[in-house]
C-alpha cells in the first residue's frame, strides 16, 4: 500500500467505478436482470456517479441535442422484457400443463403465426397431453385450436399444421416394419417434389403415424431423430437474437423440466461440448437465471 494522496484515491476509486460500470452493464445485458447488482450499485450511487454512467454508456443512453443523456427507447422496451422474464417463467411454471400449452398455442397464433411453436407443442406432447391442451383451449377461448389454426393459416402449411395439432396417435410400441420401410421409400420419393410440405403422403404419415412408427421410418433414412429442443435452446441462449427467439428459453425449459430435460441436457452437452447450465449462467441474470438453473437441475 503506497502513500495516501489524492491521485491514488482517484485512481482506486475510478478503477472501482469501472468495475461497477462493467457489473452494471452486465446486469442489464442478457436474459433477465441481476437484481442484486442493480440494488447494491445503483442504489448507492450519487447523482454524479449515475451521470457518469449515463455518459459512459453508449449502449443504453444517447446524447440528446438539448444537452442531456436520454435513455434509448428501444432499450427501455427491452428492459421491460428482461424484468418480466422471471414473472413469465413463474406463471407458466405454476399453470396446469394443459392451460400452459393452450395459452402458448394461442399466443403463437397471434404472434406470426409462429409455426415452430405450434409444431413443437403438437409433436413433443403425448397424445393425452395434446388432447388436454385442446380441451383447455376450448375452455379458455371458446373455439377449438384446429378451427383457429385452419382459419388463420392460409398457405401450404395449413394442412400439415392442422393435421399435427389434431392428431391422437396410437402410443403402443407395435410397429409394422414392412409398412415403415414402404413409407420411408414413399417419403424419399416425395422429397424430390417441389412443394414437399403440401405432399399428401407426407402430411398423412407425419400426422397420423405413431411415434415409434415414425422413428422406424427415420431409421430407414439414417437420419438422427434426436431431441431437437437442444438446438432450439442453443439458438435462443444468445445475446444477439430477437425477443421472440429469446422467449424460447422460458418456454422450452418450463415445459420440459418435468418431461425430458435430462435427455435434452445430455444431447446439448454431446452436441455443443458445454453444459447447458454453464451456458445459462453465462447468458442469464439474477433471479431469472436462478429459477432456470433450479428447473433444469430437478431430478438430477
Amino acid at each position: 500500500m503506497g502513500s495516501f494522496n489524492k491521485q491514488n484515491i482517484t485512481e482506486v476509486s475510478s478503477m472501482a467505478a469501472s468495475d461497477e460500470l462493467g457489473s452494471l452493464t452486465r446486469a442489464f445485458s442478457g436474459l433477465g436482470v441481476d437484481e442484486n447488482a442493480l440494488i447494491t450499485i445503483l442504489g448507492k450511487w450519487h447523482p454524479e456517479q449515475r451521470q457518469s454512467f449515463r455518459k459512459g454508456s453508449r449502449d443504453f443512453f444517447v446524447e440528446d441535442e438539448r444537452q442531456f443523456e436520454r435513455w434509448d427507447d428501444r432499450h427501455i422496451l427491452q428492459l421491460r422484457h428482461e424484468f418480466l422474464r422471471l414473472k413469465d417463467a413463474i406463471v407458466l411454471w405454476t399453470m396446469h400443463p394443459w392451460e400452459r400449452d393452450a395459452r402458448l398455442l394461442k399466443e403463437s397464433l397471434y404472434k406470426g403465426p409462429q409455426y415452430n411453436v405450434l409444431v413443437e407443442i403438437a409433436c413433443t406432447r403425448s397424445s393425452e397431453e395434446l388432447l388436454g391442451a385442446r380441451r383447455a383451449y376450448h375452455s379458455l377461448f371458446d373455439h377449438s385450436i384446429e378451427e383457429d389454426v385452419a382459419f388463420h393459416v392460409h398457405g401450404p402449411e395449413r394442412k400439415l399444421l392442422v393435421g399435427l395439432l389434431s392428431s391422437y396417435r396410437y402410443e403402443g410400441p407395435k410397429v409394422n416394419a414392412e409398412v415403415a420401410k414402404f413409407e420411408a421409400k414413399a417419403l424419399s420419393e416425395s422429397a424430390s417434389k417441389k412443394s414437399l410440405i403440401e405432399d399428401e403422403e407426407l402430411v398423412r404419415i407425419l400426422s397420423t403415424r405413431s411415434k415409434p412408427h415414425l422413428k422406424a421410418i427415420y431409421k430407414h433414412y439414417k437420419e438422427i431423430s434426436g431431441n431437437y429442443l437442444d438446438e432450439v435452446l442453443d439458438t435462443s441462449l444468445r445475446y444477439d437474437v430477437d425477443e421472440i427467439t429469446k422467449e424460447a428459453v422460458t418456454r422450452v425449459i418450463v415445459t420440459r423440466a418435468d418431461a425430458d430435460m435430462k435427455q435434452i441436457k445430455e444431447e446439448y452437452h454431446n452436441k455443443y461440448g458445454v453444459n447447458l447450465s454453464k451456458r445459462i449462467e453465462d447468458v442469464a441474470n439474477g433471479n431469472y437465471r436462478d429459477f432456470l438453473l433450479t428447473l433444469i437441475a430437478r431430478g438430477d
Binding site: L131, R134, R135, H138, D142, H143, S144, E146, E147, A150, F151, R158, K159, V162, G163, S166, S167, Y168, R169, Y170, E171, G172, K174, E200, R204, S207, T208, R209, S210
Partner: protein, 315 residues
C-alpha cells in the same frame, strides 16, 4: 328415446346361466338368446358377459360366434360388444370394405356422435387394433375423400353453443362461392365442415339456406360418381338432422332388392338405446307403415325376431 325394454332388476348370473343352457346340447335356443339379450341395456349386457366368464371360463362372444350364423350372428355380435368397442369394429369393417370403403359409417359416427363419444371410440379402436383410427383411415383413402374423412374423425370440435353471426354469414358465402366455381374440393369447404363447432356449422348452413333458397345438399349433386361429394352431402345431412338421415338409411336398406342387412343392423343396434324411437316415428310418418311391419316384411328368421325385439316388441 330408446326402444329396447329392459327389466329393473335383472340378475346377470341368472341370465348367464340361461344363455349357457340355450347354447348347450344339440342346436341352439335362439329364442331364449333373443328374449334375454334383446331386453338388456349396455351395462347389463356387460355384467352378463362378465358373469358368464366367471362361471364358465369362456367368452360369451366366442360362444355365440360358434353357435350362431348369418345376419343373426352378426347382429348379436354387434349387440353384445361394449358400445365403443362395437363402434370401433364397425369403423374397421367399413374401412376395410372393397373395392371402396364404406365412408357413410365414418361420416355418420364422426358427425353424429359427440366429441367425447368419438374419443371413446378412438381409444377402443387403438386398444383393439393397435393402430389409431386416423392412420388406418388415412392409409385407405386418397385425395379429397381422405382430407374430408380424416378431418371429420380427427378434429376435436368445440362443444359450446356460441354462434358468431359474422362468421356464419361469411362462411355461408364462402361455401356458396366454392360451389359456384364447381370447386367443391375447395380447401375452405373442408375446413369449414371439419373444424367448426356443430352449433356454428348449423348457423352457417341455415344462413346458406336463407341466402340461397335451398339447402346446400341440393347444390352438391353434380357428380353422382364422386364419392367425395356423396360423403360431403352425407356429412351435411348428419349434422343437420340425423334422425331424418337414419330414417332414409333404413328406408333404402329395406327397399333394396335383397335388403341391405349390414346397414339395417348398424342403425338398429347403434340407435336402439339412443333415439330409435324418434327414427321409428319419422319412418311411420314418411312411409305410412310402422317400421316393425316393414322390417318384418323384408327380413326373416331369428334375425327378424332379434331386430323386432330391439325395436321394442313385447312378447
Amino acid at each position: 328415446m330408446a326402444t329396447i325394454v329392459f327389466p329393473d332388476h335383472p340378475s346377470p348370473v341368472a341370465d348367464a346361466e340361461a344363455l349357457r343352457k340355450a347354447c348347450q346340447g344339440w342346436g341352439t335356443d335362439e329364442k331364449a338368446i333373443i328374449s334375454i339379450l334383446g331386453r338388456r341395456n349396455a351395462i347389463q349386457r356387460k355384467l352378463i358377459r362378465q358373469a358368464y366368464e366367471d362361471l364358465y371360463q369362456e367368452d360369451l362372444v366366442k360362444r355365440f360366434e360358434s353357435e350362431l350364423s348369418g345376419d343373426f350372428e352378426k347382429a348379436v355380435y354387434r349387440w353384445i360388444l361394449d358400445p365403443e368397442d362395437r363402434d370401433a369394429v364397425l369403423l374397421h369393417v367399413a374401412i376395410k370394405k372393397t373395392p371402396i370403403l364404406d365412408y357413410r359409417v365414418i361420416v355418420e359416427f364422426s358427425c353424429i356422435y359427440s366429441p367425447e363419444e368419438l374419443l371413446a371410440i378412438k381409444r377402443a379402436y387403438q386398444i383393439r387394433y393397435k393402430h389409431s383410427l386416423e392412420e388406418d383411415l388415412a392409409q385407405h383413402t386418397t385425395g379429397d375423400l381422405r382430407k374430408l374423412l380424416v378431418g371429420l374423425v380427427s378434429i376435436y370440435r368445440y362443444k359450446g353453443e356460441e354462434i358468431n353471426v359474422k362468421i356464419a354469414n361469411s362462411e355461408a358465402d364462402k361455401l356458396h362461392g366454392a360451389i359456384k366455381e364447381k370447386g367443391f374440393n375447395d380447401e375452405e369447404v373442408i375446413r369449414i365442415i371439419t373444424t367448426r363447432s356443430k352449433a356454428q356449422l348449423l348457423a352457417t348452413l341455415n344462413h346458406y339456406k336463407d341466402d340461397h333458397g335451398s339447402s346446400i345438399t341440393k347444390h352438391l349433386r353434380d357428380d353422382p360418381s364422386s364419392d367425395y361429394l356423396c360423403a360431403l352431402r352425407t356429412a351435411v345431412r348428419c349434422i343437420n338432422d340425423h334422425h331424418k338421415y337414419y330414417e332414409k338409411v333404413i328406408r333404402l336398406a329395406l327397399n333394396k332388392a335383397g335388403t341391405d342387412e349390414d346397414s339395417l343392423t348398424r342403425v338398429v343396434v347403434t340407435r336402439a338405446e339412443k333415439d330409435l324411437k324418434e327414427i321409428k316415428e319419422l319412418f311411420h310418418k314418411r312411409n305410412s307403415i310402422p317400421l316393425d311391419h316393414a322390417v318384418a316384411k323384408d327380413t326373416s328368421g331369428h334375425y327378424k325376431a332379434f331386430l323386432l325385439t330391439l325395436l321394442g316388441k313385447q312378447d
